[in-house]
């Protein structure tokens, strides 16, 4: 006898197909998507960019815009067919029973209306209750979403609260009418890791209390493992696998899912277990998707003729576990070997000529002057205010090694990179590169020095100039720095293209003809063109799909090994940096709080902030045990950083010190040296730090 009634699913999609009208005709964005969401369950839809997951989410409530339409299949909400309904009917449903939460909270919040009014409006419009009652209920709901100081927040405007708090408000708004179905489209993607962790905790909490069915769209496999019960994996507009969480991560049945699991960064305990294997090839554009073949065939390691000529159906392999593949039963993910050439065979490290650190920074400070709004400043007498983006950083990078710099937004890592490369001038401190002083802007540096220090940028779409061909842009640094004689420039460009695994025919292509991953490779080729000694990589893979990230990271590793280049790698995610870095520095509010060899960072002793970061990273494995440490409050403003240890306002381990950590407020912490190369910036004595348990333990 079960304790739950066998009830029909809240949402049921069968064979749904959605198309967009374009200049070239109708393009099928999504086809044959089928899944069910039972009540009180979270169904995750996961996939990379262009797979159509957001299209499906918007299609459920027909938010497809003027040129999108559902061209086939049925969508049933609580037994009611939604396809074909008028906008008026759907609007009613949307208000009462189905709510949406978007990635950008400002899409749902009106910046010119107070938060309290926006919340109350949801109730007064739909339920017709009095404003006072609605106001009180809104406060209650804000408290349920753990909004600190809820009554006060009601009177504020959206821009006066942080991103994480805005998202809580949006979730509160969505839940006010007690919807039966909640659709969340990447709600935490734009948030910092620690903030994201807190919001995910909230979502799990609410799931229990409200019993709402949730459709959760994301590209992050770690987040899915944390909040979802079931998962649907989408690829190129099709649903290729649906299963319960444990099954998808433990025994994936579709080659694409298996490939995804291999290229997702994990917080592995050893460098080897953190290796990333990319999926070769690229996602087909909507107009190139074959109708009579398996859509994953071009990239599959197990492809046969049958796959190229027949389209597999989504069939049940085991109870509640379906996959769209002919050979699921025969494929064993455990015996997979990487095909030749997929991952670089790393050359052994190049002998370094110099043994001193290639980059030496001492007490570096970069302050931005903030325009003061007071009357006094108009006459030049006001107090100057500074944003202390980098506030006293000292580090050294040995030649040929990679230093990973990790921190959340506002920690100053980007400013650090810009200062090193000369796009910003430091306010104080010293910086030496190859023995030369670089504490100046790039316009004051010697040409020789400039060419030894280059950068790879974050956003593939803006890293290339759209008006010039790929070859032209790579040859520019070659010409400028005269790396090779002018008649050999073209040859060298082709060589560089090959080095980043691109065919020579890319020479004449324009950036808009390239995919994100390809553009990033060109950016890397351009940075390495002048054969620099140090390359700064500013979040080079954050904007790329997971399967492409692995390829680009491997590429960087390969190039580095081959040329013996030193690298400074900036990231916001500790798991990405794991297998890639020799050393890691963790930054918080302009300071380095912990620095050392990579293995040392991921195992105790930790700086309390590192511990919190590691606890917050969503791990793509539901069987792993992870500590649950959450930080209170938000990152303080860099204009008025806290006194003493800047982390003291949020440190969960302050209580370990006498007086509840009074010393943290008044004195700057000392450097504690765990080993010669591993140091922690904390008042807590080393012995106590060493007794901490590891954050992640494989279950």
């Amino acid at each position: 006898m079960t304790t739950h009634r066998m009830q029909s699913p809240v949402l049921k999609l069968e064979d749904v197909a959605i198309s967009y009208e374009t200049r070239y005709g109708d393009i099928e964005a999504v086809r044959s998507v089928s899944f069910e969401v039972p009540r009180a369950t979270t169904f995750g839809i996961v996939g990379e960019s262009g797979c159509g997951k957001s299209t499906v989410a918007f299609g459920i409530v027909d938010f497809l815009g003027a040129n999108g339409k559902i061209v086939g299949g049925s969508i049933k909400f609580q037994g009611r067919e939604l396809v074909g309904r008028s906008q008026a009917e759907l609007r009613k449903l949307r208000g009462d029973q189905i709510s949406m939460v978007y990635q950008d909270p400002m899409q749902a919040l009106n910046p010119s209306v107070r938060i309290g009014e926006q919340l109350a409006e949801v109730l007064t419009v739909h339920r017709g209750i009095s404003k006072d009652e609605a106001w009180q209920k809104s406060i209650d709901m804000l408290q349920r979403v753990y909004m600190p100081d809820a009554a006060n927040v009601m009177g504020r405007y959206p821009h006066q609260i942080s991103g994480g708090q805005q998202q809580r408000v949006v979730i509160a708004m969505a839940l006010l009418n007690n919807p039966a179905l909640l659709i969340m489209d990447e709600p935490t993607t734009a948030l910092d890791v620690t903030v994201e962790a807190a919001v995910l905790d909230l979502i799990e909490d609410l799931k229990r209390d409200f019993e709402t069915a949730i459709v959760y769209i994301t590209h992050n496999l770690g987040v899915v493992a944390r909040v979802c019960n079931y998962v649907g994996v989408m690829y190129a507009g099709e649903m290729v696998e649906t299963a319960a969480i444990e099954d998808v991560y433990g025994k994936p049945q579709h080659p694409y899912t298996q490939g995804l699991m291999r290229c997702v960064p994990k917080l592995g305990t050893t460098k080897e277990s953190s290796r990333l294997y990319p999926i070769r090839g690229r996602v087909p554009a909507p107009k190139d998707r074959p109708k009579g073949a398996c859509i994953f065939a071009p990239r599959c390691d197990y492809v046969t003729d049958k796959c190229q000529n027949e389209r597999p159906l989504l069939r049940e392999i085991r109870p509640k576990h379906s996959a769209r593949c002919f050979y699921s039963e025969q494929i064993d993910a455990g015996t997979w070997q990487p095909p030749k050439g997929l991952v670089p065979e790393l050359a052994s490290e190049v002998e370094q000529e110099r043994q001193e650190p290639i980059l030496q920074i001492k007490g570096l400070k970069t302050y931005y002057e903030q325009e003061s709004k007071s009357m006094l400043s108009l006459v030049g007498m006001g107090e100057k205010q500074y944003v202390k983006a980098v506030d006293g950083i000292s580090l050294q990078v040995p030649p040929g090694k990679t230093l990973g710099v990790v921190g959340e937004s506002g920690c100053g890592k980007s400013t650090l990179a810009k200062t090193i490369i000369g796009l910003e001038t430091p306010s104080n401190g010293s910086a030496e590169f190859l023995g030369f002083d670089i504490a100046q802007g790039v316009s004051e540096r010697d040409q020789q020095l400039i060419q030894e220090l280059q950068m790879v940028f974050q956003n593939p779409d803006s890293t290339m100039n759209p008006s010039y061909s790929v070859g032209h842009q790579i040859s520019r640094p070659l010409q400028r720095f005269k790396t090779v004689p002018s008649n050999q420039v073209r040859e060298e460009v082709i060589r560089l293209l090959h080095a980043v695994r691109l065919d020579g025919s890319y020479y004449d292509r324009l950036p808009r003809q390239l995919s994100g991953g390809e553009k990033q490779r060109v950016g890397i080729a351009r940075a390495f063109a002048s054969r620099p000694d140090l390359v700064l990589c500013d979040e080079p893979v954050s904007a790329l799909d997971v399967s492409v990230q692995a390829a680009v990271l491997n590429l960087l590793l390969e190039i580095q090994r081959e040329h013996g280049t030193t690298m400074l790698f900036i990231a916001h995610d500790l798991s990405v940096v794991r297998f890639f870095s020799d050393y890691v520095a963790v930054m918080y509010l302009g300071h380095i709080v912990e620095m050392g060899p990579a293995e040392a960072i991921y195992a105790p002793p930790y700086h309390p902030y590192t511990e919190a970061l590691l606890s917050a990273v969503p791990i793509p494995d539901p069987t792993v045990a992870q500590k649950h440490i959450r930080l209170e409050g938000t990152v303080p403003s860099a204009m008025h950083p806290p006194s003493g240890c800047t982390f003291h306002t949020r440190c969960p381990r302050r209580a370990m010190l006498p007086d509840g950590g009074k010393i943290c407020e008044t004195q700057e912490p000392p450097w504690r040296y765990n080993t010669e190369e591993h140091r922690i910036y904390c008042h807590i004595p080393l012995e106590e730090l060493r007794e901490m348990e590891p954050v992640v333990t494989t279950g």
Partner: protein
């Protein structure tokens, strides 16, 4: 270098001709742009082939046929001095659109309107780039300069320049340029402010490229879309302005076939039953301006539609 079997082959790309065709076909997508283009092309062709399209010279006077309406001999009629209106129209279009007489013996292809806008683009873009990219006090100076120029009503500015320097084709070009500079500079400046945040500008800076290189080689080519559309509209404004100048007597000196002065001269005869001398040039001005506007509108609408 590690052997790589995994070199990515670029997927088959369409040829250059096809790319070009795709760009041009945008025009055909928009009915509006097409209509505009037809009108503009009509005048351009008519201006180019003027001598072949009429037996009369624009200055040929015929006292026996004054103020006549359309007839077999004169398709659009004649003006008060017996000159064929059609000829005057098409030769008038020449100076505006096709040929710029710099001096007695020297002329440049392109027409006053086109040259004026081009000159304005040159100077205005430079100012806009400087203000937008360099910023700081340079930006302040540029903006104040532009503010000063914009303080004058356009027609007044035209009149002052022509009155001061005399009415010749080159001066008209200068006037058009000066009047256009503030608008163009502002447009380029705002485009620059957006473009300079891109990473490829950062990349150029990290290479130590000079400010001029970054402005003209990296930034300007990426602003060309809106600039071109704006320029087309400006050609229309310029033509209209020239019509007004002509009307006020500040256009090209007689007996040049200037549309504006044709309207001015023909004005007196409207009520007495011969509106032709004023009507046709008015329609000509209006149609050309409208045509340019439609073309620019249609293009910008199309390029935004399938964003």
């Amino acid at each position: 270098m590690a052997t790589s079997e995994q070199t990515i082959k670029a997927s088959a790309q369409p040829s250059r001709w096809r790319n070009a065709w795709e760009k041009i076909s945008i025009i055909f997508e928009s009915k509006i742009a097409l209509v505009g283009l037809v009108i503009v092309l009509f005048w351009v062709l008519v201006a180019i082939f003027a001598p072949l399209l009429t037996p009369y010279s624009p200055t040929e006077q015929d006292y026996t046929a004054q103020n006549q309406g359309p007839s077999g001999a004169h398709p659009l009629g004649t003006d008060s001095l017996g000159r064929d209106i059609w000829s005057r129209l098409i030769y008038g279009a020449r100076v505006v659109l096709v040929v710029l007489p710099v001096s007695e013996s020297f002329w440049l292809p392109g027409g006053t309107a086109l040259w004026g806008v081009f000159l304005g683009l040159l100077i205005g873009s430079t100012l806009g780039l400087l203000g937008g990219y360099v910023g700081g006090w340079v930006d302040e100076v540029v903006m104040r300069l532009l503010d000063a120029m914009m303080a004058f009503p356009v027609i007044l500015l035209y009149m002052i320049i022509i009155a001061a320097f005399g009415a010749s084709a080159t001066n008209v070009v200068l006037a058009i340029a000066i009047v256009g500079i503030p608008g163009i500079a502002r447009l380029v400046r705002s485009l620059t402010l957006d473009i300079r945040t891109r990473d490829y500008i950062r990349a150029a800076e990290t290479r130590g490229e000079s400010v001029w290189y970054i402005m003209f080689v990296e930034i300007l080519p990426n602003a060309r879309g809106p600039i071109i559309i704006d320029a087309m509209l400006r050609v229309g404004y310029a033509i209209f302005a020239m019509g007004t100048l002509g009307f006020l007597g500040l256009g090209l000196p007689p007996p040049s076939p200037d549309w504006g002065s044709m309207v001015a001269k023909g004005r007196q005869f409207i009520l007495s039953g011969s509106p032709w001398a004023a009507l046709w040039p008015s329609i000509a001005i209006a149609s050309l301006v409208v045509g340019l506007n439609l073309f620019a509108d249609g293009l910008s609408e199309e390029s935004l539609r399938y964003q």
